[in-house]
Symmetry: C2
Subunit: 341 residues, 2 copies
DNA sequence: TTGAAAGCGATACCAG
DNA sequence: CTGGTATCGCTTTCAA
C-alpha cells in the first residue's frame, strides 16, 4: 500500500493514451495536430480517451522536437523596468494580455535592486524564448545585447536603441514636447518651464528638445529646465518647489511625465498656485490618476494600445522571417487630452 | 553560398562543445553541474570552450529528463488579476523579484476581459509549471481548480480558498477592520461609516465584519455600509457622494482599500469637508499615492514583503515535499500608518 | 490513414 | 574521474 505522501499522480503521457485507445503514439500526436492526416473517427476516439485520462501534450517536449524546424517554444521574454511610475503597470498589463490573446506565454524579467538582470536573462534564454519585448527603461541596453548576441528577435518598447541595432516602437517624443509647447503658448503664457526625469533619459530628453525648440521659435530663448534622479511623484514635487524658488515668475510648466506633473501640481497648490488661471500645467502619459477629480491633469496620452499592438506585430513578423537585421523605428503620435476646464 | 536570411546561427549543443573540447557529452553535462564528480581541469576546459562557442544548456531539454526525478522546470505560474487597483502592481513587482531572486522564472497569466483565462492556464500547465501563485481576486476559484486537478502545488495570495483546499497567505482582514474602528473611536467620532468593494469580495467583507463588530461593541449598532462594483478610485468617489447625501452627519469613514479611500477623500473635499477635524478617513493597503502630500491618507498597510516571502516559502516547501494536502492559512498582521497630522 | 523508428538536447546510471 | 547508453515525451519521416 502506498503512503499518502505520493498522492501526486504521475503525469499522463501520449503512450498511456495510445495504449488505452488501442492506437500508436503517432496517432495520439496526430490527434492533437490540427492539419494532421488522421481519420476523424480515430481522432475522436483518441481525444475522448485523452480527456478521460486528463492528458495534455507536454509543451517542453514538443518544443524540443519542434526546435528542429525553427523556434517554437511559444515563449516570449518580457523585460520590464521597475514599477516606479504608475504608467508602467498599465503598459505592462496591456502587453501581457495582448501576448496571451496571441496564444503565447509571457516570461517575465524585472531588474531588481541587486541588478540580477543578467542571471535572469540567462535563464530566460535557456528556455529558448522565441523573442523579447524590452521595456526596461535605462536597463534596456544590457538586455538588448543579450538577445542580440543570440540572434533572438527583440523589440524595444517605449524607447529606442542608441545604436540602432534593434527595432523600436515608441511614442513620438519630440511631438509630445512640441504639442506641449503649443498648448502653453495658446494659453498666452509668459514664463514656461520644464521638469524632466533623468538627465540621460532618452524620452525625457526628446520631449524637452521638442518643447524648448518650439518655444524658441516664438522667442523664448531661456527656458528653465530641471532634471531629476527618476520619474516619480516625489521628484516632481521637489523640482516644482525648487522651480518656484529659483524662478518665482514661472506661469507654465511641462513635465516629462504625469507622475512628475502630479507631484508638481501638489507642490504648486501647497504654494498657493491653485487656479488654472495663474498657472498652466501639462504632463505626458495619461496615467489613471491624471483623470482623478482631485487632479484633472491636462496631458499628452501615449497610445498604449497601438504601441503594444505594433510591437507585438513587429516581433511576430521578425520571428517568422528569422531576420534580426534591418531594424525599424516606429514613432506613434501622442493624443492631446484636455482637462481642468 | 548562403543567403543573408539564414543569419541566425544554429543553436550550439552539448555535442558541439564535447567534440571541440575533445571530451564526451557527459563531461560537458558534468561541467555544468555544480556537485558533479569531474576533474577541475576538465571542467575548466569545457567551460572555456562553451564560452567560446556561446553554449548554454537547453532548459527545455534539461527539464524534460529531470522530470523523471520530480518536477524541475523552474517555472512558476503567476495568476494575477487586472491592475485596476494601484496596489496590485506593487504587489506583483515584489512577487516577481522574489521569484527571480530564487532563480525561478515567472510565467504570467492575466485574465483579460474576454475571459480567456482557461486557455491561458492550459498553456501554462502544458509547460509543466512546478507550482502556482494565485492572486487573481475574484477569478481565483477557476485558477485554483485547474491546478488542484493536476496536483500542482498552489498558494493563494491575498485571499483564501472558500473551500479550504489550498493554502493561503493573506493579511488578517478582520484585524484590519478592528484597528480601523479603534482608530476612529480614539478620535471620538460619533457617526462612522464603511465603504467596501464588491459585495461578494472576501477581503472587503472581512474588513467590514471586523469594523462593524468592533463598533457595535461600543454601542454603534447601525453603521452605514456601502458596496461597489469594484475597488477603484471612481467607485470610492461615487460612494462617498452617496454617503454624504444619505447620511449627512457622517464624520468618520473606513474604506476597504486605499483606492476607494482616495476617491472618497476627493469627494469629501469637493463637498467642503476638507479638515481632518471635521472628518476622519482611513484606508487599507498603503499604496504609494497614500503617501503623496496631496493626500496623506492614514491607512493600514498590508505587509507586502512578508506576504510575498511567506507565500513563496510555502510554495517551495510544498513543491519539495510533493504534498498538496493539509492546506494552511496564514494571516499576517497589518501595520497602522498614521498620516495627515 | 497508420505504426515503427529515428531523433530533439540533456542527464543519470553503469561499467571501466 | 570518465565515456557509453538508456531515457524523458513528443513529433516526424518512412514504409506499409
Amino acid at each position: 500500500m502506498k503512503t499518502s505522501a505520493d498522492q501526486r499522480p504521475r503525469t499522463v503521457t501520449a503512450s498511456d493514451v495510445a495504449r488505452r485507445a488501442g492506437v500508436s503514439r503517432s496517432a495520439v500526436s496526430r490527434a492533437f495536430t490540427p492539419e494532421a492526416s488522421i481519420h476523424p473517427r480515430t481522432r475522436e476516439q483518441v481525444l475522448a480517451v485523452a480527456r478521460e485520462l486528463g492528458y495534455r501534450p507536454n509543451a517542453l517536449a514538443r518544443s524540443l522536437v519542434k526546435s528542429k524546424q525553427g523556434p517554437s517554444s511559444g515563449l516570449i521574454a518580457v523585460v520590464m523596468g521597475e514599477f516606479d511610475n504608475p504608467f508602467q503597470p498599465h503598459f505592462f498589463s496591456q502587453l501581457t494580455q495582448a501576448l496571451q490573446a496571441q496564444g503565447r506565454v509571457a516570461m517575465l524579467v524585472m531588474p531588481d535592486a541587486q541588478g540580477s538582470l543578467d542571471d535572469a536573462l540567462e535563464r530566460l534564454i535557456a528556455y529558448q524564448v522565441e523573442g523579447a519585448i524590452i521595456a526596461a527603461g535605462s536597463l534596456s541596453p544590457e538586455a538588448t545585447n543579450a538577445f542580440l548576441a543570440l540572434g533572438t528577435p527583440a523589440v524595444l518598447l517605449g524607447r529606442e536603441d542608441p545604436r540602432g541595432r534593434v527595432s523600436a516602437i515608441l511614442t513620438d517624443n519630440r511631438a509630445v514636447g512640441e504639442r506641449a509647447a503649443d498648448y502653453l503658448l495658446r494659453q498666452q503664457r509668459k514664463a514656461p518651464a520644464f521638469i524632466g526625469g533623468r538627465a540621460d533619459g532618452q524620452a525625457s530628453h526628446e520631449r524637452q528638445q521638442g518643447f524648448i525648440e518650439t518655444l524658441s521659435r516664438t522667442g523664448f530663448n531661456t527656458v528653465p529646465c530641471l532634471s531629476n534622479p527618476d520619474y516619480s511623484y516625489a521628484s516632481g514635487y521637489r523640482a516644482a518647489q525648487q522651480l518656484l524658488r529659483d524662478h518665482p515668475d514661472t506661469d507654465a510648466l511641462f513635465c516629462a511625465c504625469d507622475a512628475l506633473a502630479l507631484g508638481a501640481m501638489d507642490a504648486l497648490r501647497a504654494a498657493g498656485k491653485t487656479s488654472p488661471e495663474q498657472f498652466s500645467l501639462i504632463g505626458c502619459d495619461d496615467v489613471p490618476q491624471a483623470a482623478w477629480p482631485g487632479y484633472q491633469l491636462t496631458t499628452l496620452a501615449q497610445p498604449v494600445q497601438q504601441l503594444v499592438t505594433q510591437a507585438l506585430d513587429h516581433l511576430i513578423t521578425s520571428i517568422a522571417s528569422q531576420r534580426t537585421d534591418s531594424p525599424e523605428v516606429l514613432r506613434l503620435t501622442p493624443e492631446f487630452v484636455q482637462r481642468q476646464s
